[in-house]
């Protein structure tokens, strides 16, 4: 449209002829109006995806890696679960944590567990985190045109004993990170992680060595996100991976 030669009347004429009466929508905001993303047939037909939201944070340390995630699952404005674990153990030295659609996350995690078992049987050893990182990337890209609606962080101890985090998008683009955040609160969590942990702009590139400080930070980040993101809340699940194996603990956070 040419705004310079714009006159109200010209536009009026043009549109008046093909004017149609649009139906009046009842816009009272009630939950069932917000469920349309999955149940209604969109322009291109059935939409199989739904975002169940939730936030997960992973931070690599010198000899450990820590995951802090909330346990809320929601659809629209409804809470489906208050105690869902979005973090799955793959090996004694590796976990995966994801945001996105629960059905896809569970399927992907199960598939990876199966792939790890197959690997162990076939090669008579446990896959390294690096191997699993590549495997996950290929698995996701294998579904390039009907992806798993899952945004993953693969966390583990590498062969040198260092903590490592691998971040992915839904179709398998991935990179090695020192920390990562996925899910509905990722925009809120990323800045504080950038500030507190080793980023590209840092001169001193040493990973944090005190697990309790990192744990407090991770816990605080999820608590802070729960303050402002409506999809994050209920509980924070802390998963710590180090040379002794995997520890999991949960603490309540705000439930509203």
């Amino acid at each position: 449209m040419d705004l310079e030669n714009y006159t109200n009347v010209n536009i009026f004429k043009k549109v008046y002829e093909k004017r149609e009466v649009s139906s009046i929508h009842n816009v009272v905001e009630q939950p069932h109006h917000l469920l349309k993303d999955n149940t209604q047939h969109a322009k291109g037909g059935f939409n199989p995806y739904v975002n169940n939201q939730g936030t997960t944070v992973a931070i690599a340390g010198k000899d450990f890696v820590l995951v802090a995630a909330d346990t809320r699952i929601s659809q629209g404005f409804n809470i489906l679960s208050r105690d869902y674990s979005r973090t799955t153990k793959l090996t004694d030295q590796c976990v995966i944590t994801s945001g996105g659609m629960v059905a896809d996350i569970e399927t992907l995690h199960k598939l990876l567990i199966a792939k790890v078992k197959t690997y162990q049987r076939q090669f008579k050893k446990t896959p390294t985190v690096e191997s699993l990182a590549q495997l996950l990337g290929n698995t996701l890209y294998g579904r390039r045109f009907m992806p798993y609606y899952a945004f993953n962080l693969l966390c583990g101890i590498d062969q040198n004993g260092q903590g490592s985090v691998y971040g992915y998008d839904a179709i398998g683009s991935w990179d090695k990170l020192t920390y990562g955040v996925q899910g509905s609160g990722s925009e809120l969590g990323a800045p504080i992680l950038d500030n507190q942990f080793v980023g590209h702009n840092y001169l001193v590139k040493t990973l944090p060595d005190d697990v309790s400080v990192v744990e407090d930070t991770g816990k605080d980040i999820i608590n802070s996100i729960a303050e402002r993101d409506i999809y994050t809340g209920d509980q924070v699940e802390i998963v710590i991976v180090d040379k002794n194996g995997i520890r999991v603990k949960r603490e309540p956070i705000r439930r509203d």
Partner: protein, 246 residues
């Protein structure tokens, strides 16, 4: 009764004889004994592979690396028997090794490479219904020495047409195989250096070869434990060893 008559059980490659033998596999193993000699020795410093290259005519160009080939950066293979059959197995092993790197971002273990080769080696006969690729109609008439370095250190494996694979500290196959094994058994010890092993390979080859040993009718490769890389020795290097042989 015609039971026990060998010929009747030679028709199908997958038919057992009443004594519980599959003659075609045994014949295939026999075929290896006509092959040129190939030797492998494992030491703590690395693995050595050596082969004899037969030159039936003076007019023939000495081919480079025909019987001593690379499977992956960390793994080499020496062969004895029908070289054409070996190429199919080696191609398969190379694909498997690259697939492993693609899937898992790591080198495939030598045992796994050997297993992959053996899986293909026993997959002969009529094949299954619905299988796209038609398998070999007969057993592969070749034995391979697969050597390399992985997470478990230097490794040496041998495959045969039956799909069996065994791990060895030192192994010789081919026409001079039995003689060579006796020879190596006398000199081999587990604390050998790589240089000593190279010399032992050459010395053994010299003793079993019908022709005079020369830099153009033998070839050796090594995989070092520290670098985990396959290296092919140059003709000068081989010449230097030959000059020191007894």
């Amino acid at each position: 009764m015609w039971m026990g008559s060998k010929e009747h059980y030679d028709r199908g490659v997958n038919t057992f004889s009443p004594e519980g033998r599959i003659y075609q596999i045994e014949y295939a193993i026999e075929a290896i004994k006509f092959g040129s000699t190939a030797i492998g020795i494992r030491t703590n410093e690395g693995v050595v592979l050596g082969v004899e290259k037969k030159l039936p005519s003076k007019l023939m160009e000495p081919a480079k690396s025909e019987k001593l080939v690379e499977i992956d950066r960390h793994c080499g293979c020496a062969m004895s028997g029908i070289v054409g059959d070996a190429r199919i197995l080696v191609d398969h092993a190379r694909v498997e090794a690259q697939n492993h790197r693609f899937n898992y971002a790591e080198a495939m273990s030598i045992e796994q490479i050997t297993e992959a080769v053996s899986d293909l080696a026993i997959n002969f006969g009529e094949g299954y219904e619905g299988t796209k690729r038609k398998p070999m109609a007969r057993p592969y008439g070749v034995a391979l020495l697969i050597a390399g370095v992985d997470d478990n250190g230097p490794q040496l494996y041998q495959t045969d047409p039956s799909g069996t694979f065994l791990q060895w500290q030192a192994r010789a196959i081919g026409s001079g195989g039995d003689t060579a094994m006796t020879y190596i058994k006398e000199s081999y010890h587990s604390n050998m250096t790589l240089a000593e092993a190279e010399k032992l390979v050459m010395q053994t080859l010299k003793s079993v070869m019908e022709e005079k040993i020369q830099s153009d009718n033998v070839e050796i490769s090594i995989v070092r434990t520290d670098t985990k890389r396959l290296e092919t020795r140059t003709q000068e290097y081989v010449n230097n060893i030959i000059s020191t042989l007894a």
